[in-house]
């Protein structure tokens, strides 16, 4: 008896969602072993995660707060994925967006109705320009966008550090590396006496806009056609170089909006570590969402639950923060493996007796 790998026919939607669910369960099971060996009862821990992230209005609001930047950056990465472009630089684009928004908030002196739109625009443009560098290099000289976007993360983060340690440091801040607090005009509205802010609704609006752009417009059609087969797209008269440039710029611009939402909605100042790796988590999210905007929202909410729940595990059982990352990694690992089972199957083959 031997096993053989065979390509599977196009699976049904039900089969796909079952496989995805099964792989999530596998990830839970494996993470359960980790918890067990850390001396924690896995069932109690999972219950705790759910209770803390969804069981109270505070927990729920925190989950939505965490999901907000993930949704926006997840959308940013996913539109580039549609064209088989890998934007690994969402992290840096968040920082650049935050810098842009902060610059306007601190130095423009605008009044209330204009302040937030101006900050939004600055973040959009700053993130867009940052990614546009990679787009330009890719479109003109086929420079690999993965390398460029990745390396520009470090530049963006260090540039932010330069600003908050240097010229933008709050003069009344006891020498801490922070900018001054934003004025009220530069803050997004908060709701229900929690940290939940308008950024979450902005994220949902972005999801709708990205959905319409990709699925319903002729521009989205071009992006999908180029992603599916660049040669055919060129042959059909599409300008692939221009489209690559625009997609990367738009992807960066959206990620920049996440930076705006974080500084205007949550931190109210620019400081070190405004994004604890949202830009990288966004890559996982875009992958798991299988390119759909609604999928990005759902997966981001799940990730939000995981982050908030993970925080509470740290408090209740003194588990290290690494556990939340290990859990994320396990989920991605099993979902990638499930891709294999969606496309292939193992079949038992009987050895014939004549050999």
């Amino acid at each position: 008896m031997i096993l053989r790998i065979e390509k599977r026919e196009q699976g049904s939607a039900l089969f796909r969602s079952l496989t995805t669910t099964a792989s999530l369960l596998c990830a839970l099971l494996f993470a359960g072993f980790l918890l067990f060996f850390a001396g924690v009862d896995p069932a109690a821990a999972y219950l705790e995660i759910l209770k803390e992230s969804l069981g109270s209005s505070y927990g729920l609001s925190e989950t939505l707060v965490k999901a907000t930047p993930l949704i926006i950056t997840g959308l940013a990465v996913s539109i580039a994925f549609r064209m088989q472009i890998w934007n690994i630089g969402a992290e840096g684009q968040i920082y650049m967006g935050a810098c842009g928004a902060t610059g306007v908030a601190l130095f423009s002196g605008l009044d209330s109705p204009l302040m937030l739109p101006a900050m939004f625009a600055a973040a959009f443009i700053a993130g867009g320009l940052w990614a546009a560098v990679a787009g330009l290099l890719r479109a003109l000289w086929q420079v690999n966008e993965v390398i460029v976007t990745l390396l520009m993360n470090y530049i963006a983060i260090l540039l932010t550090n330069y600003l908050i340690f240097g010229p933008w440091k709050n003069p009344d801040g006891y020498n801490f590396p922070l900018t001054a607090q934003f004025s009220d005009a530069a803050r997004l509205t908060e709701y229900f006496n929690t940290r939940l802010h308008s950024g979450f609704f902005l994220a949902l609006f972005c999801a709708l806009a990205v959905y319409l752009l990709m699925e319903r417009t002729i521009w989205g059609f071009q992006v999908k056609a180029i992603g599916s087969n660049p040669a055919a797209a060129r042959y059909a008269g599409m300008k692939t170089g221009l489209a690559i440039f625009l997609v990367l710029a738009l992807s960066g611009a959206i990620a920049g909006v996440a930076g705006f939402s974080e500084v205007a909605g949550l931190q109210h100042r620019l400081q070190h570590g405004i994004s604890p790796g949202y830009g990288y988590t966004a890559i996982i999210i875009a992958w798991l969402a299988r390119r759909s905007a609604l999928g990005v929202v759902i997966v981001s909410l799940l990730m939000g639950i995981l982050l908030v729940g993970g925080d509470s595990l740290q408090l209740s059982w003194q588990l290290p923060v690494a556990f939340a990352y290990a859990f994320q990694g396990l989920i991605l690992f099993f979902l990638l493996a499930s891709d294999f089972f969606i496309n292939f199957r193992l079949r038992r083959v009987k050895e014939t007796d004549d050999a």
Binding site: E6, K7, R8, E9, Q10, L212, R216, T217, I218, W219, F221, Q222, K224, A225, G227, S228, N229, A231, A232, A233, R234, Y235, A236, G237, R345, V349, T352, D354, A355
Partner: protein, 502 residues
């Protein structure tokens, strides 16, 4: 004659597809056995089973009446079964001698180079071939490269030689020479499996013919039991073949003129060199030539995909040389590309979307910036009906369709804007007979409506059947025009190897 090889009840499945089922036939020692079948009938799969690329799901392979199982091509080769593939396995920068030496087995570490060289030269001389052992392979013609592949197998004492459509890349003269070599090999007691779908050749050299249809071996016929009609009938079976009539005589009005066109490829070599051509309204102009003589560059230059270095392309008198793909299309040139999966379709998009790949900007398919889904769906429904496309469930990716249906999608898209000129590059390659005839029908009907077609093909039979005129291309230059009604195959063959008719 004793049986060298027997295939019994071979079955091979791929997910959702039975590629081979109940395939049985035998090869006698010293016979030329032809495998005949349409594309997709299972010829290549069967040969891959025989050479150890695939393991059969069921069935037996007997060599010298002993059951064998080949786990890899290396094993089948060590048993004396060798194959000449359509794509040669040669190192272009190395010499002929080196390429042959690489293929030898059981060579001692300090190999006796001179001795081997003499042995190889002897084999080449025995078959009356002309090969310079020290010439690098890239300098040789395709025909000569094929000799190298053959000699590699002979040096390894192969008893069974498999040739997969060997004449596709040869001029009629080169093919005739190949057949002489095959006849000589037969005399020496070697067995040959010859794969082809060109009836003429099959009639000429086969001792026996086995016909494959839809993965099954239909029958094996002895020489004398078959003629072209019988073979064609068995190959096609009950499939319906679309009927069409050749169009009316064309007018003298010129729709397209190419003047002294030069196109260089990536390596800076001239694909087209001082090439001129005239296309008249409503005619089907066949372009004959051995593959790789500039046909692809011609099609790409006409459709704006390749950059033109010098020369002019005039459409109805207007210079369109420098226009990009989009404006050429507006100028009325449609294009059926050579490699339909590589550049003809966006495989992950749906049938509906692929049908508007070129015209998605047209006002018909959009409301401002948004796409009009209803118009796109309606367009697809019309095309599916008009071109008899066997579409899968709505919205599923177009790559799941069969090759013939994908070709129909491309044709439907290209012809939907009523083009003045159609450039078709090997439009029937890889299609079954029914689909191929359908393509011919569409081209002929288009000609009746005044569309002019440049039909680039390597199949002379196809060109004879449908063309109004045939232009012959060689090394990027036009050799001349011939009238298919009067020109002989030999005459075209000579022109294909560059001889200008007197």
């Amino acid at each position: 004659m004793p049986n060298l090889l027997q295939l019994q009840h071979i079955r091979k499945t791929f997910p959702g597809v039975v590629a081979l089922d109940e395939v049985s036939f035998t090869i006698a020692a010293g016979e030329i056995h032809t495998l005949l079948g349409e594309n997709g009938a299972g010829k290549s799969t069967l040969m891959n089973v025989l050479t150890g690329f695939y393991a059969p799901d069921q069935g037996n392979i007997l060599l010298d009446d002993q059951p064998v199982r080949f786990a890899s091509p290396r094993e089948s080769l060590s048993q004396g079964i060798g194959m000449v593939y359509q794509h040669f396995m040669l190192v272009p920068a190395h010499s002929v001698l080196e390429n042959i030496l690489v293929a030898l087995q059981n060579v001692p570490l300090l190999f006796p180079r001179r001795q081997l060289r003499e042995k190889i030269a002897q084999t080449i001389a025995d078959f009356g071939l002309e090969l310079d052992l020290d010439s690098p392979v890239w300098k040789l013609s395709i025909g000569a490269q094929q000799w190298i592949e053959l000699i590699k197998l002979l040096m390894r004492d192969c008893r069974l030689l498999i040739l997969d459509e060997p004449t596709a890349v040869l001029t009629p003269q080169e093919a005739a020479k190949l057949f002489k070599v095959l006849a000589k090999l037969k005399q020496q007691g070697k067995s040959i499996i010859f794969i082809s779908h060109k009836m003429r050749e099959v009639m000429e050299i086969s001792d026996r013919v086995t016909i494959l249809k839809k993965g099954r071996s239909v029958t094996t016929l002895e020489s004398g039991e078959f003629d072209q009609n019988r073979l064609a009938a068995l190959m096609i079976g009950n499939d319906r073949i679309p009927e069409w009539q050749k169009s009316l005589p064309f007018s003298d009005e010129l729709v397209l003129e190419i003047e002294n066109l030069a196109v260089r490829n990536d390596r800076g070599l001239a694909d087209l060199d001082n090439f001129s051509l005239q296309l008249k309204k409503g005619e089907i102009l066949g372009i004959a030539g051995i593959a790789g003589n500039g046909q692809k560059a011609l099609a790409e230059a006409l459709t704006g995909l390749a950059r033109v270095d010098s020369g002019k392309v005039l459409a109805a008198g207007a210079d369109i040389t420098r226009s990009c793909a989009r404006s050429s299309y507006i100028a009325g040139i449609a294009h059926i590309p050579e490699d339909r999966k590589a550049i003809g379709i966006a495989p992950d998009l749906s049938l509906d979307e692929n049908l508007i790949l070129k015209s998605f900007r047209s006002a018909r398919f959009r409301n401002g910036f948004f796409q009009s889904r209803r118009a796109i769906r309606q367009n697809a429904q019309e095309k599916i009906e008009q071109f008899a496309i066997k579409a899968g469930p709505s919205g599923s990716p177009v790559r799941l369709l069969s090759g013939g249906n994908i070709q129909k999608v491309i044709i439907a898209r290209e012809l939907s804007e009523r083009p003045q000129v159609l450039v078709a590059l090997y439009p029937t390659r890889g299609l079954d007979i029914g689909s191929a005839e359908y393509v011919h029908k569409v081209i002929a009907e288009g000609a009746g409506d005044g569309m002019s077609t440049i039909l680039i093909s390597e199949d002379l039979d196809e060109l004879y059947k449908i063309s109004d005129r045939i232009a012959v291309i060689f090394r990027g230059q036009l050799v001349g025009y011939v009238d298919p009604a009067t020109a002989s195959r030999e005459q075209i063959g000579l022109m294909m190897s560059g001889e200008v008719p007197a």
